[in-house]
Symmetry: C2
Subunit: 206 residues, 2 copies
Amino acid sequence: MTRNPIPEIVIGRLPVYLRALTRLLEQGRQVTSSQELGERLGISAAQIRKDLSQFGEFGKQGTGYDIEFLVAKIQEILKVDRVWEVAVVGAGDVGHALVNYGGFHDRGFKIAQIFDNDPDKVGTSYKDIVVMDIAQMQEKIRKAGIKIAMLAVPASVAQEVVDQLVEAGVEAILNYAPVNLVVPPGVRVQYIDPSVHLQTMTYFLD
Amino acid sequence: MTRNPIPEIVIGRLPVYLRALTRLLEQGRQVTSSQELGERLGISAAQIRKDLSQFGEFGKQGTGYDIEFLVAKIQEILKVDRVWEVAVVGAGDVGHALVNYGGFHDRGFKIAQIFDNDPDKVGTSYKDIVVMDIAQMQEKIRKAGIKIAMLAVPASVAQEVVDQLVEAGVEAILNYAPVNLVVPPGVRVQYIDPSVHLQTMTYFLD
DNA sequence: CCTGATTTGTGCAACAAAACACAATCGTGG
DNA sequence: CCACGATTGTGTTTTGTTGCACAAATCAGG
Ligand SMILES: NC(=O)c1ccc[n+]([C@@H]2O[C@H](COP(=O)([O-])OP(=O)(O)OC[C@H]3O[C@@H](n4cnc5c(N)ncnc54)[C@H](O)[C@@H]3O)[C@@H](O)[C@H]2O)c1
Ligand SMILES: NC(=O)c1ccc[n+]([C@@H]2O[C@H](COP(=O)([O-])OP(=O)(O)OC[C@H]3O[C@@H](n4cnc5c(N)ncnc54)[C@H](O)[C@@H]3O)[C@@H](O)[C@H]2O)c1
């Protein structure tokens, strides 16, 4: 069975499954079913089964899924069965919160570098990582072979920083700045903008 | 033409259109077309037109859309033609970044209250907002009639805090904790989890 | 006032995703 | 070792979303 092009919407649900499964593991559970998982996530059991079946047969009829095994499989599919080094650009409030955040380690990521253009910030340490000058960014990222960046600079400079990141070989960008970015094909961008999320919900309020 | 149930996926794109249009306005532009907007956002022009047509006729054939007018219309549709008071729970790194963030004001939101359970934090000021004790949360939220909350507490206590928020009348929650929340019908939750976003992208890396 | 270049709004066709429903399989307990 | 309840994986149906293509409208220039 060769890998068909899997719909991106399916890929997007896998990390959510993974997060829920990890939580079940923490609660000491060993086995779960598509039904139980679906109830917790507000997703139909059939959908979960179909999503997983795109990648193989991971369950046992009559029993369900061995959680530890399924976690390992999804990690493998998502390529987070390794640790990716990540660069953070912008050592402001958001950059600080990200570097300080302990939740990346067991989910496949390690913040390896952080950059800023403010001379007052360059050289200071955030956790155990020293803030480096943006002028060195391309060289450092290229040298370390970093493919993933989180962008936490003001919106006004986001596009220019992105252009540099792409040139340095970055292929995945998580953008906190409230602007749409233009990137060449082959580079992926995801957006985190709390205002966008909130505005999606206000529509449904009275 | 009475309001039909508009697909949620359409609602979710409106804030993105709004953000791009606002940016065009800042750049001094007065008029745009579905084609231009689509190119900037990586969305087909037809889709943008169809999305907007769900709510009325906002454009002029041969000309395009008056940006200021369209912005006002979308703000109205999303109900962000007013300012919503928002409560933040958890005065840690994320809570701090949110309170400090200047980007909510012109997008329909104002952080009005912040709560924590750490006695060292209660009473201190973040920007011009005093951190209040979680014990007072329900009363304060109810009294202010707040309907929207941002949740920035550890995952382990997120569900219990959410239960309290819901009981206090909150109907929209933006959750930063990496857990799926269970809420009664009528309450909306959106999730921000950088690991989930990153894991969606690693699938496509080599 | 006519012509041509644009661009909207939308009916319809094509495509995609989700739900349904059930045979196949598994484990358990008698 | 058989029968039953549980649960998967999947072919089929249903539902939802996107793209296409064009009439209708608008504007500018001659
Ligand atoms: N704070 C939040 O909760 C929040 C929420 C949503 C979005 N955002 C967005 O995230 C981004 C960062 O927000 P923040 O609150 O951390 O802002 P901040 O001002 O605290 O930090 C921005 C940092 O970027 C640095 N910087 C500026 N120009 C740079 C450049 N050219 N190269 C490298 N570094 C540069 C600044 O020196 C500063 O340290 C902004 O785009 C903001 O709109 C923030
Ligand atoms: N920092 C990040 O970049 C980041 C990224 C993604 C997700 N998160 C998540 O966001 C949440 C907050 O992260 P953080 O970095 O700000 O953590 P943090 O530890 O800095 O802050 C958490 C705050 O919540 C408070 N708190 C704990 N229990 C509480 C309770 N029962 N009621 C009220 N307040 C309580 C703590 O006193 C603390 O001030 C966590 O769930 C974290 O996993 C953080």
